[in-house]
Amino acid sequence: MIIPLLNSLGALNLLRFRPKQAPVNDSPISDELRAVIEERIKPGLDQLEAQRQHYFEQYEKREKVLKYFAFPAALVFGGVQLANLHLFEALLYPLLALLFVNHWVNKPARDYIAHYKSSVLPILVKLYGDFTYAPKSEFDPELDSRFKVVPRFERWSSEDAIKGKLDDIGFEFCELHLKVKTKDSTRTVFKGGMISLTMPFEFGAHVIMHKDKGALGNLFARGALTHQTVALENPNFEARYEVRANDQQLARYILSPAMMERLIALDDLFRENVQGSGLMCEFVGNTALLMLPYSGNLMEPTDIHTSAYELEKLPLIAQEIALLSGVVEQLKLDYMATRKLAMRQLSQGTLSK
């Protein structure tokens, strides 16, 4: 019982809203970003700061309730239960109560961050293409039945949705947290980012690229019963991933030697920049789905303790958005789209005279 409770404490991220050490940002700020910050973000900072102070007042009042009322009451209750030798009740009820109160205390902080993101991030994402930003995404609860790289889940939460188009390719990103119910609690099955690319052509095959879990682990991977293993020539790629497909030739068309190198490079980029733990990919219909597990939390621009005028995190956020939106170019899927569309034009005889 204690362990699930501790898991719940961790899941609620109790320390999330405490002041953190400022991250080290060693990347140079581009002129374009500087211009956007000066012309479009700074003019709105007065209003943001006023909002922050309003939310901060509410937060401080609620924190006092926690410090001077809820916490002592929990201690007293726990002490009384302990005195009566009810150890379980002494721990369980005070912890539950403190969890609930903590959630209530931090609501103004969450509201402020959501408000800040809604004001600033839509401006930043426009730097990288025709993108829109929303704090929450329209998540498909049937995702795990449509895609085999998505682990089975029962509960989900998502945030930071970026949507748009890069040339002819539809781009959608969101941060996901997927969980399954266990006997006493929940267990995280995926935490990280999901990128869905809608191509202007059909791949023609169903290709699943899981992390390699060894001979036994791969037998139980999703898609193992319905799709054949594709043995590829790149030993580094083969060591990291297990590929299954319903068409050997088309799988090799999609995962060309150059594409394998690009996927490895992308994986290394995410491991280095956001503590990623190995990307997974699926190509089905006209969709390329990339699952990017990472332990960090992208696009967290501020906290309630930091003045809205402090913009030092923005270049880091811009870097993260560039990393995500650059995936199409990184994998040269835009070039694949150009080739496929040209082939379609020629075979349909629709080239201009």
Binding site: Q248, Q249, L250, R252, T338, R339, A342, M343, Q345, L351
Partner: protein, 187 residues
Amino acid sequence: MSIVLVVLGVVLVVGYLWYVSIIKRRNAMQEAFSGIDVQLKKRADLIPNILKIAAKFMAHERELLEEVTRLRSEVLQAADAKADQETRFALEQQLESKMGSLLVSVENYPELKSQENMLAAQHAYADVEEHISAARRSYNAANRGLRDSIQVFPGNIIASIAGVTAMPFFEASSADRAPVDANQYLG
């Protein structure tokens, strides 16, 4: 006696399962080989489109265009006549080489190079080449799987009884392996 029968039974079952595995792998290899054929046919079908676009601009490359046309006809004739593999692939190799030269020559004609139709044709040709490459890789993988099963005991015995042999891997020609002489292209 019963132990002998059991052992014999096990040996027969294992032998049969190994034989089935060899036949399946041979069929997979043949399927992959015919997959290459499909892509080569696609390329042969695409070539007239490229030649039609290029001919309007490349008046000085008449010889090259005629050479490509001739090779394409020979490739299609060899496919229809079910000529032996070596002859067919030698012709395909020559055609591929000449098409490569043609597409490099396009760079000398700025008007043609920037023409939308020619760009689309080049992209489509690149796509077909990727498919051919994938088909060859698929064939090599299937052939490797077959070789693994017929070179390891008792697969080698079963394969020789069943008359199953592996085919050669697809390899780059000696011309393709030779270092590229940039002067050839830059003049």
